[in-house]
Amino acid sequence: SGNGDSTDSEDGGSDGSDGSDGDGGSMDGGDGGSGGQETAEITYRDRSGGSDPSIYADVFNESQEGIQVNPSMKPVEEKYRALIAQISAGNAPDVLGLDVVYLPRFVQLGALDEINDFYESRDYTDEIFQPLREDFIQWDGDYYAMPFWIDLSAYYYNKLHYEEAGLDPENPPETFQEFLDACEALQQAGYDTPLSNTLGFVGLESFFYLPHVWAGGGEFLNEDQTECLIDEQPAVDALEFFLELQENDYSTDQTSTESFTYGAFAAEETSMMYGGGTGVGAVKNQNEELFNNMGTAMFPKPEGGERSSFLGGDSISVSTQTSDAKREASLEFIDWVNSEEGMRVTVEDLGYLPARRSGFETEYVAERQDIFAAFEQAMEQGHAPPMHPNFLEMQGPLNNAISRVLLGEQDPQPALTQAANSINSVLQS
């Protein structure tokens, strides 16, 4: 199937360039076409976290001639600082993998090129999971990116432990209460701390907490993005759920910045784990046996809600500073990462999730339904993060509120009210 994929991707690629030629006619796109004879070198920057996306470039470079992608990876924190420096200096990379929460701010700063025509000329857009088609890659009605590798939040569980505790490994808990009960049962079965979890990293509090809010019908911001809704009941309920996990010692230290979540779960010291896509690879690397006895599920929901997930990860964009010739090559690369071959890399090499439904229709996924079934469902039911240029600044107050509650310094409602006020003032400034 590898050959077929690669052929597909080349086709898709040439389609892409044709499309962009067409709409950029006034920009003398023909030059770009003739430049295709030589090798076009483009730069691609992304963050390296649990895995290393430079592999996209490697596979892509292998798969065709004419375009050479030079990747460069940085840890999250460093990447954006360096990126800002590069863009300021007029030195932007041609292709940017961006954590989606940064997308609006970068658009606002004029760093990302609008790609409406490119997006619309793709024949697979229908196939992109619904939540990703909207907020994820749009800002103010225009498209600035394609979805790229997707990370989502879910929980992992140890089927053997479930059996020991008398729980049904094929039907993991769905509601807050069921989840708490399961924890209780596991504790009874001798797993003192049944859940690996930490909210301590910047961004993780949204990644894990917000899906519980969404599950209860809550929202972070209102539709017009003029007001913060995090002090409403669903948010309070969700936080109380976390508090209960904490107070009953069901969970590892959720305020901890140092994290043993993956390690402890992999070592089978805990029975469940809040995690993202990288959890799969981490467990597989550390405990192959567990990997074969592991299930995933979407986060629990309050009674009557709909389970949700945080759809994060990266979108992929072209810089406004890229020359026309390189723009074409860049789009070709962008197109390729959503091809079958690109998605195979996403799933199999990086351990993240593809943006298109067809990405799930591979042998590899089929063999691992325990894991991917829940993920695929989450792709449908999940939420894109709140898309606002200052979302990062708003995370601070939310993070603080959660910390205060879990540290026992404040109750959920007042803490969230305080957070909402702070966030409102960010919205107004």
């Binding site: 954006y80 600082r81 800002i84 863009i87 300021s88 200096a89 007029g90 932007a92 701010r105 970068f106 700063l109 004029g110 760093a111 301590g200 910047v202 230290d253 305020t255 901890s256 910045t257 140092e258 043993f260 500073q321 200052n390 990062l392 600044e393 601070g396 993070n399 603080n400 910390s403 205060r404 540290l407 310094e409 400034s429």
Partner: protein
Amino acid sequence: MADRIDRRLPDRFSSSTTTGGINWTPYLYLLPALVLYAVVLVYPFVDTFLLSFQQVTTLGGEREWVGLSNYEAILSDPIFWRAGFNTLVFSIGMVFVPLVLGLFLAILIDTGISGTSTFRSLIFVPVIVPLVVAGIVFGWLLGSNGLINSVLVGAGIIDEPMRFLNSTTWSLPSVLLMVIWKRTGYYLVILLAGLQGIPDSVYEAAQIAGKSRFETFRNITLPLLKPAILVTVIIGIIDSVKAFAHVYVMTGGGPSHSSEILATYFYKIAFRFFQFGEGAAYGFILFAIALTLSLLVIRVSGGSEI
């Protein structure tokens, strides 16, 4: 100490090269350094200054004048003041605790009991340990299943492991623990040199005068060490205003800004929230604080000779 040298300085150098008219040679020696500054620092400095009155509309492109509003935004941000207060605490912890410890150890080493001088080098080692490493190691030591917790629990001092770095109460003290570890050796060395500069005969005069250990310390040692202590304190304060990595590598300023200091909050504004204008304004406020303190150093240590 400083002023005695100062008085001699002008006499000493007035004369070395002269043959009427302006002698350009000294400027030639200065030139490379000035060129380096001019080329490397002038543009960034001026650019940052301008940016502090602007807002970035296009990254690397247009900017919009916004007057003083960046400064206003910072000064009206409660977290800025919180960070300011934390910086004060941080400075005190960074300066005074190691100072007292360093002084105590310096006095012990100054007794000259054989073998004590090797301790000086040993206690100095943390000064040169990379900060990233220090942050990693202390984060690990202070973790909820780290060594410190296990010792404290084992000794029955606390019942349950403490979450030092994740506690709004303990995060700043935890960072300070690392800072004190890293800095005590530095002060020790400076103060020890100061102590060793006190002539023996002055001690002996006090001894013959029948002074007790405490009286001698209070009336002789401390006053004579004053210049060293004073300059050290102020340089320490400046260091603590500029300090960034100490907190950055350990808590990042959290939780709930409980360990936020001015420099880390600056970092967040500029590099996490991407508020560049505000960041520049913030940077200038930081610089102003450091500069004020540096002028204080110059004043205290007597004229321009630091």
